[in-house]
């Protein structure tokens, strides 16, 4: 007679000793196969008196269940161990940079120009463009700079013929849009583009550069509105906390005209080499649209007023990113270009 409890402890003991799945299968066969030890018990049952059979049967079934569960449990634990062993073999050096997805860059001038455009699109402005090969008429005449005007000296010009030139400022775009507006108000424009001046290239001058000009014409526009708008732009480009100040200046197409300084973004206005110790950095020129400019565009200066401003993109980019030589922006060295991953 096999004692059930002895068999049970024997089986569970064997399972415990098992080292791998193969041994486990052997144990299973030893106890649970058709010729296994548990089956032997069932054979014994035949010899038992009838009344003892159900209780015995129940015990054997219990034993079967206990062994099965134990086997299963052991199998699970063995699998976990195996999986862990397998994964351990897949150990890698996580400090390696094996794959570097390539990602390109936009030109810093594009980044700056788009940032300015976006800032003003948010204020409801349209982005306007125009030809770089421009008529003297739009570049100068319409901008209140007639022939012989001393201001033509301020902008040495690449002429193509007596009436055609490479535009010296994006003001020419404004003049075209003003004319096209046929008095339709309001006008809110932001005009980016390449411009050209007859300058020799050096660290701070380039015969080709980029400007963004803004123009607002409507009823009741004031110089104070210009200041608020420019403060908004400076906040958006250089982060909040920069003060701006106006200084009187002169542009033929605005009156009054002002130069605009921003408190130095490097030292916060305390004075440093970037701001030459003054705490201020000149960033743009602007003013109230000259009544002559409005008149030439058939806009009644008695009823409407406006402001305009013009920013040198190179200047802003050089300030923001600490670029020392303007020619770096036109050499297209990828070591330089790759640094400008985003507008921050």
């Amino acid at each position: 007679m096999i004692d059930i409890s002895v068999l049970e402890s024997e089986a569970l003991g064997s399972i415990k000793e098992v080292k791998d799945l193969k041994e486990l299968e052997e144990v299973r066969l030893t106890y649970l196969s058709k010729k296994g030890r548990v089956q032997e018990l069932m054979m014994q049952m035949r010899e038992l008196p009838k009344e003892e059979k159900p209780a015995f049967g129940q015990k054997v079934n219990e034993l079967k269940r206990t062994i099965t569960e134990s086997l299963k449990e052991k199998e699970e634990s063995l699998k976990v161990v195996l999986m862990n062993e397998a994964m351990e073999k897949e150990k890698i050096d996580i400090s390696l940079d094996a794959y570097t997805p390539s990602y390109g860059t936009l030109h810093p001038l594009t980044l700056m120009s788009e940032a300015i455009e976006d800032c003003f699109i948010g204020l409801g402005y349209q982005v306007a463009e125009g030809p770089e090969v421009e008529l003297d008429y739009y570049n100068f005449e319409k901008a209140n700079i007639p022939k012989g005007h001393p201001a033509r000296d301020m902008q040495d010009t690449f002429y193509i013929d007596p009436v055609t030139l490479l535009r010296t400022h994006t003001t020419a775009i404004q003049m075209r849009v003003l004319e096209k507006a046929h008095g339709q108000m309001p006008i809110k424009l932001i005009c980016p583009g390449k411009v050209y001046r007859r300058d020799n290239d050096d660290a701070t001058h380039s015969h080709q550069f980029m400007q963004v000009e803004g123009l607002v014409v409507g009823e009741g526009i004031t110089l104070a509105d210009l200041k608020g708008t420019l403060q908004f732009m400076v906040d958006s480009l250089f982060g909040k906390g920069r003060a701006i100040r106006f200084r009187p200046s002169y542009f033929p197409f605005t009156e009054p005209s002002v130069e605009v300084d921003m408190s130095c973004h490097v030292c916060g206005g305390k004075g440093c080499p970037t701001c030459k110790g003054t705490g201020w950095i000149e960033i743009l020129g602007s003013g109230m649209v000259h009544p002559n400019v409005l008149k030439m565009a058939d806009i009644d200066p008695q009823k409407y007023s406006g402001f305009a401003f013009g920013v040198g993109i190179e200047r802003l980019a050089m300030l923001k990113y600490g670029i020392r030589d303007i020619r770096d922006l036109y050499t297209n060295d990828v070591r330089f270009l790759k640094a400008f991953k985003r507008f921050d």
């Binding site: 794959y99 607002v216 100040r245 009156e255 036109y330 060295d333």
Partner: protein, 800 residues
Amino acid sequence: MRLSLNWLSHLVDIKGLSEEDIVNKTIKAGFEVEGVEHLGQGSDLVVGKVVECYDHPDSDHLHVTKVDIGDEVLDIVCGAPNCRTGIKVICAKVGAKLPGIEIKPSKIRGVASNGMLCSLLELGIEKELLSEDSPSLTGIEELGDEFKVGDTDILERLGLKDTILDIGLTANRSDALAMHAMAKEMAAILDREAHLPLYDGKSDIGEEGEFTLVSKSANCPHFLAKVVNHVTIKESPSWMREYLVSNGVKSINNVIDISNLVMLETGQPLHFYDLRTNPKREITVIDDYEGEYEALDGLTYQIEKGDLMITSEGKPAGIAGIMGGENTKILDDTPGIIIECALFDHARIRQTANRLGLQTEAALRFAKGLDPLAQKKAMDRAVDLLIEYADASGFEKTTEWGQSTYKPYTVSETVSHLNAVIGQQYRLEEVVDVFRRLDFKPEVTGECITCHIPSYRMNDIKIAEDLDEEVIRLLGYDNLKATLPLMPATCGELTKAQSTRRKIKDLLRARGLNETISYTLIDEEKKNKAFWPLGTAIALASPLSDDHKYIRTSLLYSMLESLNYNRDHDNKDVGLFEVSSLYAKDKEAGERLAIILNGSLERSPLMKLDVKSDFYVLKGIFKMMMEELGFEYGRYVIGKNDDDNTHFHPYQSAKIKFEGKTLGYFGKLHPNVLSDTKLNDVYYLEIDLLPLFEAKGAKTKAPLINRFPNIVRDIALVVKEEVKVEDLIKKINKASGKLLTKIEVFDVYRGEHIKEGYKSVTLRLIYESFDRTLTTSEVEDVHTRVLDLLNKEYDANLRQ
């Protein structure tokens, strides 16, 4: 311009104002102070007397001296050749700070030296400003008897203690080039009184004389001439020399100095001629002289038609408004003079001065525009000074040609309009006060203020808004509020072209390419060899250099230059793109995109990943871009490039057509194009962007996702080399009907097991139906049909 605070202090009461205060107020009023210069510099200077002087025992040029400075006697070693007993000198004591040096007690070749005897050069005075016989040029300065031993105010008394503001003038303020007008401006800025010398009408004297004055040019509308029969040439008074020095003008003699001083004071350049050189008493202004002319500076200039010339007896006597002639200049024995005060056209003078490269003080002033009344003012002042400082007599009446074009005028403004423009709430009284300070003689009627504009501000003050600027300029921008415009709401957005351009740039950047911006202007060689030029190149009328002469009509050589720069600087694996407008004489403006690739587009050696840029990489980038823009293949077609085999590899380039028209080209660049560089294997694309800006992309639609499984069949077909994969695919699509939904090209193989002149193309065909699970036999039918057709059409066999 240079503003001497010393000079200013004689014209405007600036007592009690610090230098910093004056500078700040000047800047705030619109005059950019670009620099502050201290003329004579040096602390701890004292008048000393050399009481003993003997040669240094160890030197062939040094002197050992004892210098009495009043409270003590100093031992000083001095190297100046003019150092000798008895002279009064400028002595810098130990501790003195001079430009660049600090005086310390020292031993010079064994002899103690406690101080330094100074030349004016050592005190920061420019050599050019010293008179030719100044001892400071070769040795130390010698002081006159008026200086007492121990005096310390040396620089002040020599007129060398001065602060000069270097002011950058805006184009509208040429009036500030006249010291007397600038003094009035400074009085307004500082709100102090100006006290200008009175000379109005001083030239209304003289006997009748005979003088012929004619202008034959419209560019000289007004001319005053006056004969002064007797002058005495001598040294100028010290104050006059100081004023000239402060403006960087060298003192020569009293008469020439007066002409320069009057120009500085009134802004009107004037010229004095030696009376002996004009016996006929005749001046004619002409503008049709051609030929060489020797000017005062001893150089010869080429005069062209249009240049204004002063002539006498038909012979040139000076380049009008720019420089007088060598033959008529004032000499030490000049007995009398002719004074010229004329108005010459600013644009004309600018043109001549620019061409001759002669930017004289006179030319500068004419070119910027003059006070229309300055001719008379200058004549008055010149006569005034000549009488006082050159013993002038024998005046003849002023001869006048033409007349001043000036007419007195007024400009009016209301306080409410002013406030509407500025966005401030100024009061009438403060506004009127600004105009009073500016000497605009304001008259008030209700809220309207009428200003009488002085002649020297005529070029600048014309309309009410010009007055508005004067108000805020002098009341200050500091208190200006910052508001945003109150106006009807508008929607800000990009146009289709603008947003498409941005999208293209973003896509290419995401593919790892770097955006470039290069110069529009190119040289002749690049112009001549342009690829697919937009049209005939536009040339500049007056280029600055040969490098930048023409406006580019295509982008290839700009891109190549950028790539080549990177190659030369060892930057490998370069992918660049640029978007730029193009212009041509005979075409509408265009806008193009260029891409240039060299090396690998993507490379991670540890991953064994190396996407080498080639034709297919470039093609893939282009197709990706088109797909992202909503243009399916079919709307554009990539075909053979038969147009250009000089810039492109004849067998590795393609032409792109968009909606039937040429959009551009791409492929491998021809080796000839790279012959000047160390580059090879360069891939390039240039396309027209305008059609893409205008065309509408396909609408995005959600795809139908199949819920039934598909059946995949891979086939390796052996075909002749000339069979194009694209044609195979087309044929398969045609033959297979609806069940075949996708064909992928797996491999194109040539080599072992494949006959010469053949290639093996491995394709994966995907069959599926959206309404049922396909049976093998269904697919087999179609598949067999496909293979049969390919065999028939292309002699294609399954690879064994």
